[in-house]
Amino acid sequence: MTTAELWWNTLAAILTLCVFSFLIKDNPFYKFAERLVAGVAAGFWTMLLYHTNFYDKVVLTMQKQQWAYIIPILLGLGMWTRFSKNYSWISRYSIAFYIGISTGVSVTVYMYTAIFKQISATIIPFDSVTGVLIIIGVLCSLFYFFFSKAHTGAFGLVSKIGIYTLMIGFGAGFGLTVMGRVALLVQRVIFMRDYFVALFGG
């Protein structure tokens, strides 16, 4: 490790400890790390959007005289009317397009991925206990999401099986995720260990 690397690593190690100190309680060291990373992330993001999106979609398109891009650029500039009290309504035009395009695209995407793909995967022959149970599980869980029927009587029973199925799914999801989270902690611990080894020469 060179001296420069050691210094950088020292910074990283100190910041790591600052964040971990949050586990004991909120404290000035954590607040320092939190505020520092807020600034750094905002700065990084600014440059990222500047060098990638702004350059590609604004600078390059204008240089290449792709005049179609004037409309989104004007709409983008329209967002800046929010700085003014009297003209801020113009920014609603930009927001309207933003939301309109996003929702319009989503209608068909959800119809395909969330509805058709799932149904197609659930239509399986009743030739095994597993298959039957999956279909029953899907139907009961779907039933749990009925809003306009009181969940009482037979409906109540079905929706109860549904919510039990959902809970099994959530329990499994929780249990499965622990490994990945521990692995992330281990990476930080090993980073700190290696840092101390480098610092004190093993």
């Binding site: 967002m79 927001i95 809003f147």
Partner: protein, 404 residues
């Protein structure tokens, strides 16, 4: 099955090897019979850079010598021109899709590019072990045209139209004054109490819209819930803090809260500085929200929108701060953590239903009825589909299986 498989047999896979490279072997293993009747048609549902080549299988494929392994598909610009290998198809399949959309390849003109409206000629030959090849078939010709409707997506079109009709129908009925029953949702009932609690304690409410973008539908659902919550709090002068990490979300949140205060008749109490742009990026944002919870001692935390790994960090920190927490997300992987660590969780569809519940407007509630009808239809399709496919009738399954 064979057709579905053939659809995957995309062209450019083995392109570039000239058919002339592999000399036809006349000694050794017996040659298979040549495939016949090559036809070339436009590939449907595309931008006009693909054709479908079909042929009758060689007599030695599945019969005769039964030695065919694959077919080699070759293309030329004119009938007598040089035929270049475009790809292969395995035995038993007399169909091949030749698709190439890119006019250039690494800056050079791409010879495989299929020009819309230009006629191409195809020849096919069978390959057997050796490898040895049959004679080429007679050429077939055809051209690619640009399509204006995607026939493969027809089921989705019907899905959209039917569901859209459901929604419009129930909105229409609601407008006429029909009242719909909706069952109580624990997470929604808790909202009033949670806001009341904050007011009593004289502490702010925190509303987190997650780490999605303003274009995610779950975030938009979050905006609608924020609007109802802000309206309820406007009267009590309980501030709603909305820290966000997406700039468009920032602008929309400001509009949402401001309008809610306006509609509640308290525009004077609206404070723009309560909606803050914290920072970009997931974890720096989470760190900042953690700070807000602990330092401003928020009494009630709402988490409504798209959440990723930060769900549990937020929920646990809120727990340390002793806040009442109500969460809702469409992210299946994060639901377990919200369920475990927050007081109330709106699961998936409940998040989208929440704004209707909170608004209590008949028109909004009407859309819930449409969702229920749609669910009933889906359940019926699943049951009938499964019964039919158990009887080896794949009709319904085929209907809902969309290959794009």
């Amino acid at each position: 099955m064979a057709k579905a498989t053939a659809l995957i047999l995309l062209a450019f896979c083995f392109a570039g090897v000239s058919a002339q490279d592999a000399a036809v072997d006349t000694t050794g293993p017996p040659l298979p019979a040549a495939p016949t009747n090559v036809t070339v048609a436009d590939k449907p549902d595309d931008t006009g850079h693909g054709v479908l080549v079909r042929w009758h299988l060689s007599a030695d494929d599945g019969g005769g010598l039964d030695n065919v392994l694959a077919y080699e598909v070759c293309r030329a610009d004119d009938a007598e021109g040089e035929y270049v290998n475009r790809g292969v198809s395995v035995k038993g399949i007399g169909e091949y899709e030749d698709v190439d959309k890119s006019p250039t390849e690494n800056g050079n003109p791409n010879p495989g590019y299929i020009v819309t409206g230009k006629t191409y000629y195809y020849k096919v030959r069978a390959m057997a072990d050796g490898p040895v090849y049959s004679e080429f078939s007679e050429p077939g010709a055809g051209l690619a045209i640009e399509n204006w409707y995607h026939f493969g997506k027809t089921p989705i079109l019907f899905g959209v139209i039917i569901f859209w009709a459901f929604v419009v129908y129930f909105i229409f009925k609601a407008r006429k004054g029909k009242e719909f029953y909706v069952r109580p949702l624990a997470g929604i009932n808790a909202v009033d109490d949670a806001i009341g609690r904050a007011t009593e304690m004289g502490r702010p409410i925190l509303f987190v819209l997650g780490t999605g973008t303003a274009g995610d539908i779950a975030t938009i659902a979050g905006f609608t819930i924020l609007s109802r919550v802000a309206k309820l709090t406007a009267e009590y002068q309980t501030p709603v803090l909305v820290p966000v990490n997406d700039p468009v979300m920032f602008a929309v949140s400001q509009e949402t809260v401001r309008t809610a205060y306006l509609e509640a008749g308290r525009p004077d109490t609206y404070k723009a500085e309560n909606i803050t742009y914290e920072t970009a990026m997931q974890f720096p944002y989470v760190a900042a929200v953690n700070g807000i919870m602990l330092r401003q001692k928020t009494a009630t935390n709402f988490y409504m929108g798209v959440f990723h790994a930060e769900s549990l960090i937020l929920a646990e920190t809120g727990n340390i701060a002793g806040s009442i927490q109500i969460s809702g997300t469409d992210q299946i992987s994060q639901l377990p953590f919200f369920i475990a660590a927050t007081d109330y969780t709106l699961i998936g569809e409940e998040l989208y239903a929440a704004s209707a519940y909170l608004s209590k407007e008949p028109v909004q509630v009407g859309t819930l009825k449409a969702q229920d009808w749609a669910k009933a239809v889906l359940m019926i399709i699943i049951i009938i589909g499964a019964i039919l496919i158990s009887a080896a009738i794949p009709f319904i399954k085929d209907l809902v299986t969309v290959n794009i």
